[in-house]
Structure formats: C-alpha cells, structure tokens
C-alpha cells in the first residue's frame, strides 16, 4: 500500500508515543523485578507480609466485585429499560467515583466511621449489643468499603452502551407475552450483555486489586490490613536496593493482571467485530 508523508509521520508519532509512554514502563517493571535473579524473585513473593497483603487484597476485590456487579446490573436495568425523571442526575451521581480523588474517598470513610465521624457511635452501640469488636476505619472493613467506592461505576459503565445499542424491543415483547422480570433478564438481557459484563467484571477486579490512594488513607498496619499496592509502597519507600527490587517483583504480579485485562479486552472487541461482519 502506498502511503503519503503525513500518514507515515502520524503513524510514527503514535508509535513513538505509545512505546515511550506505555510499553517501556510496562517492560521496565518486569526487568526491574528480575534484577536479583529468579530465586530472589520467588522469595520476594512469599514473605509473610506479601502473603497477608495478597489475602486482604483478594478478599476486598471479591467483595467489591460481588457488590458492584449486583449494583451494576440492577442500576443499568433501571436506567436503560425505563424512562423516568432525574435519570441524567442518577447516572451522573453513579459516575462520581471516577472523577473524585481516591484520597478523598478514603477521607470520606474516616469522616463517616472514624473517631469523630457521625456513624462511629452507631458502630460502638452495635458492638456493645453484639458483644463484638468491629472496627471499620484502619481495619479490613474500611479497606473493603474504600475498594467498593473506587470501583463502584465500572460494571455499570461497561454494560450501559451495549444495552442502549440493543434497545428494549425484545424485552418489551417478552413482557407483553407474560414473561416475568427474572426470566426476561436471564433469557434475553444477560445473553446480550455477557461480553460487556465480563469485561466490566475483569476491569473492576483489576482496579480493585490495584487501588492505592483510598486504601492508603484507611489502612496503616503492615502485615494486617495492607493490600498489595500498599505493600509495594512500603517496600519501595524503604529505599534499599533489594527491597526496591522486591517492590517490583510484587508489582510484576499486578502487571500480569493488567496485561491479561488488555488481552481480554482485545479479544472481546475482536469477537464483537467478527459478529458484526457476519
């Protein structure tokens, strides 16, 4: 194919930008993580701190995923299947976590459940009734809440365009023929959105596993409430060269996850393009 000069130049600019800004950083994580050899790499991933952080991270991610998927499906159903006043306001409110500093998200839970937060007395009262010692802020529940907050809109956002594009004809026909809500959802809507839902779920998981700012405000105990990103921060900030390498080793786990997300995204796009072409 013959190309003109502008086309060549623009493609070259794009390639250089992507390689320098995105691909080199990605490769550099892996290179840095293997600086001290494979046995160091393996040892860095199996310290008590890392294993504890991995457990907390997975716990928070699984809960956030369940909550946000449930919410995303219900909210998307409400917004796309019905006309009502204030729909625009509702979607704007759902998008809030996208445009808010993660540090403010952490602050929000401190202001709610912290020592001077208005809800702390209710938590204390609940604890005295149940005889438990449930802590929210600076404990695992706070980490979970912060994770839910920052990933809240992801599933919702990913399935909305598909639902809008498909319209409601099939659902309305089914409803007129007497199908119940759950039947309509599982037999008609879910098959339509399954790829978008899958991508939303994966993206939500990746973000939940990688959240740093919000969790950082609410979690101060290494080895107890730290998540993987916080453990990376602790290792990196200690400043010694081998712990920095360990920080990159832990990071490489999250990089693999990110690459997995991107591959899945490309795969889903490829599938939907083929479907459109057929």
């Amino acid at each position: 194919m013959k190309r003109n000069k502008t086309e060549m130049a623009l493609i070259a600019v794009s390639m250089v930008f992507i390689v320098v800004m995105l691909i080199i950083p990605l490769i550099s994580v892996i290179v840095n993580s293997l600086r001290e050899g494979l046995s160091f790499y393996a040892a860095a991933l199996t310290t008590d701190y890392v294993i504890s952080a991995l457990q907390i991270t997975l716990l928070a991610a699984v809960i956030a995923l369940a909550v946000n998927t449930f919410f995303g499906l219900l909210a998307a159903w409400t917004v796309t299947k019905f006309e009502f006043r204030g729909k625009h306001i509702l979607t704007t409110l759902i998008d809030i976590p996208f445009s808010i500093s993660p540090v403010i998200a952490g602050l929000a839970f401190i202001m709610t459940f912290g020592r001077m937060g208005w809800a702390s007395e209710y938590v204390t009262a609940l604890n005295s009734i149940l005889g438990t010692d449930l802590q929210i802020v600076f404990a695992v529940p706070g980490v979970v809440l912060a994770t839910i907050f920052v990933t809240f809109p992801f599933v919702f956002r990913e399935i909305i365009p598909v639902l809008n594009a498909r319209g409601n004809d099939e659902e309305e026909a089914a409803a007129l023929m007497g199908a119940g809500g759950l039947t309509i959802f599982f037999r008609i809507t879910l098959p339509q959105i399954r790829w978008a839902l899958l991508y939303g779920v994966i993206l939500c998981t990746a973000r939940a596993l990688g959240e740093f700012g919000a969790v950082s405000a609410l979690s101060k105990a290494r080895g107890a409430t730290f998540t993987l990103p916080l453990e990376i921060d602790a290792l990196y900030m200690s400043g010694q060269s081998d712990s920095i390498t360990a920080a990159f080793a832990v990071s490489s786990l999250l990089v693999l996850l990110a690459v997995g997300v991107l591959l899945l995204r490309s795969f889903i796009e490829y599938k939907s393009e083929r479907k459109r072409a057929l």
Partner: protein, 278 residues
C-alpha cells in the same frame, strides 16, 4: 395497559425494585460517605479556611496540581487526537496492539505505574539518564509530575475522540477535497470543529483525574515543599497522617469544588455548542 404501551415505558417489570435497590446502594456506598466530608467541612469555622488559604504549602500544592494537570491534559489532547486519528483512519500492522495498549493506564495499578515511571525518569534510569547528560532532571521535578499525569490521562482523551471520529460523515471532507482545499485546511476547518466537543470532554476527564491523582504521581513528584512539587492529594494524605482532619477536610472541599466547576463548565460549553450547531 394501553396507556402504558402508548407511553412506551414500564412495560418491562421491576422498575420499583431495581430503582430502590440501586439508589439505596448508591447512597450507602458513595453518597452518604461523601456527604459526610461535605457536612464536616461546611461546619468548620471560617478561620480554618483562612488558615488553609494563607498556608503557602497548600496554595503551592493547588497551583502545582492545577498547572501540571492542565499542561498534561493539553499534551494529551494533541497526542490523543493524533492517536485516535491514526487508529480510526489508517490500516497498519500493530494497530490492534496499539489500540489495546491505550487502556493500560486504566488497568495498571497506580502505585505500580508510579514506581516504574519514577525509576525510568530518575537520573540513573533508562530515559532519565539521557536527559541527565544535558543536566536536565526529570524525576522529582514538575516535568516528571507532568509526565506521570500524561500517562494517567491519555486513555480518557483517545476513548472520547475515537467513537466520534468513527461516525464522522466523510462527505464534507470529500467536498472540501474536491473544491481544492489543502489537507491541513480540511483538518482544521472541517474535521477539528466536529471533534471539538469530544476533545473537550476528554480534556475535562483527564484534567479532573489529574487533579486528584495520587498513586502514580507521589513517587515521581518528589513531594518537596521547597520545590513546589507537592500535589493536593499528597497534602491531604499528609494532614490525615498528622490527624489534622479539619485541615484535610477543608483542602478536600477545595479540590471537590475545582473538579466540580471543571466538569460543569465543560458541560455548559458543550450544551452551548450543541445549541449553536442546531
């Protein structure tokens, strides 16, 4: 039943239930915690705000966050437009890869991006050492901070422009071409005005994200009060660590107001442009 049909809505069951659960969950996980920050910061005495505004460190942090996010968003608009153009209009090998990698900053945890960029652009890093030869330091300066914000913001701009460019009717370009307009004239007089709302949206999203960014900037920024490389979210986190909740909340309110004004302004400009166009 007939009335419902004519209105074309509420044929599908489940409105009350899904709406109720969605709004309840949104309130519990997002709105109420955020409202706590608002209520708390609005109850602060005026002297607290005077203290915040008269504090050089806080003022500088706001200046740094705003100026660097603005610059990064402008850079992203330039490269984002080129990238979107190349991805939509040209066919070349590696296009699918390029398209997939754009979303890396969404999928890569911010802390991982932060430590990698900081290492790459430090005076001994792969990219930083090239500039260090000429006596230019990138990491731990505002330049490094801006680079990190470019990394974080690029997918917002590309993904805002891409769909608009795909739907753009080529008839006007062809008309321009046949009437003998130069390529640059066609781009700046015909295509760019069509893309302007999308570029503006991308700019707003990237700018708002940059203002609140924490994980990917704190390592590369250096966080020096003397060199004005502290960002607002870093200062909030510092206040939280010193248990200065009043200080943290007053700065957070400032940040929320700026983010809100940005998104509101961009919405207004778009509505204005849409009216003029029609």
């Amino acid at each position: 039943m007939i009335k419902q049909l004519l209105k074309g809505n509420h044929v599908i069951p489940g409105f009350g239930l899904t709406m109720g659960i969605s709004v309840t969950m949104l309130s519990c996980f997002v709105l109420i915690p955020l409202a706590s920050v608002l209520v708390y910061s609005l109850h602060l005495p005026a002297s607290e705000y005077v203290r915040m505004i008269s504090n050089d460190g806080v003022r500088n942090a706001f200046m740094t966050s705003i100026s660097c996010s603005f610059l990064a968003a402008v850079i992203n608009c330039v490269f984002g437009t080129i990238l979107a153009w190349v991805l939509v209009r040209y066919q070349f090998t590696g296009k699918r890869l390029l398209n997939g990698v754009i979303e890396l900053p969404f999928a890569l945890p911010t802390a991982v991006a932060g430590i990698t960029l900081s290492k790459l652009y430090s005076d001994t890093g792969l990219i930083g050492s090239v500039f260090a030869q000429w006596g230019i330091s990138l990491a731990y300066t505002k330049i490094g901070l801006t680079i990190a914000l470019v990394f974080v913001g690029i997918p917002f701009v590309v993904r805002s422009i891409q769909p608009v460019l795909e739907k753009l009717d080529p008839a006007y370009e062809e008309a321009g071409n046949m009437l003998g307009a130069a390529k640059t004239a066609i781009f700046f007089r015909i295509i760019l005005p069509e893309l302007r709302p999308a570029i503006l949206t991308g700019f707003g999203l990237a700018f708002a994200r940059g203002l609140g960014e924490y994980g990917s900037v704190i390592y590369i920024a250096g966080n020096s009060a003397k060199n004005h490389t502290q960002v607002v979210s870093y200062v909030i986190m510092q206040k939280l660590n010193y248990v200065d909740y009043a200080g943290a909340a007053s700065i957070a309110l400032g940040l929320l107001v700026i983010a809100f004004v940005t998104l509101f302004t961009i919405n207004m400009i778009q509505i204005h442009q849409a009216r003029r166009a029609s």
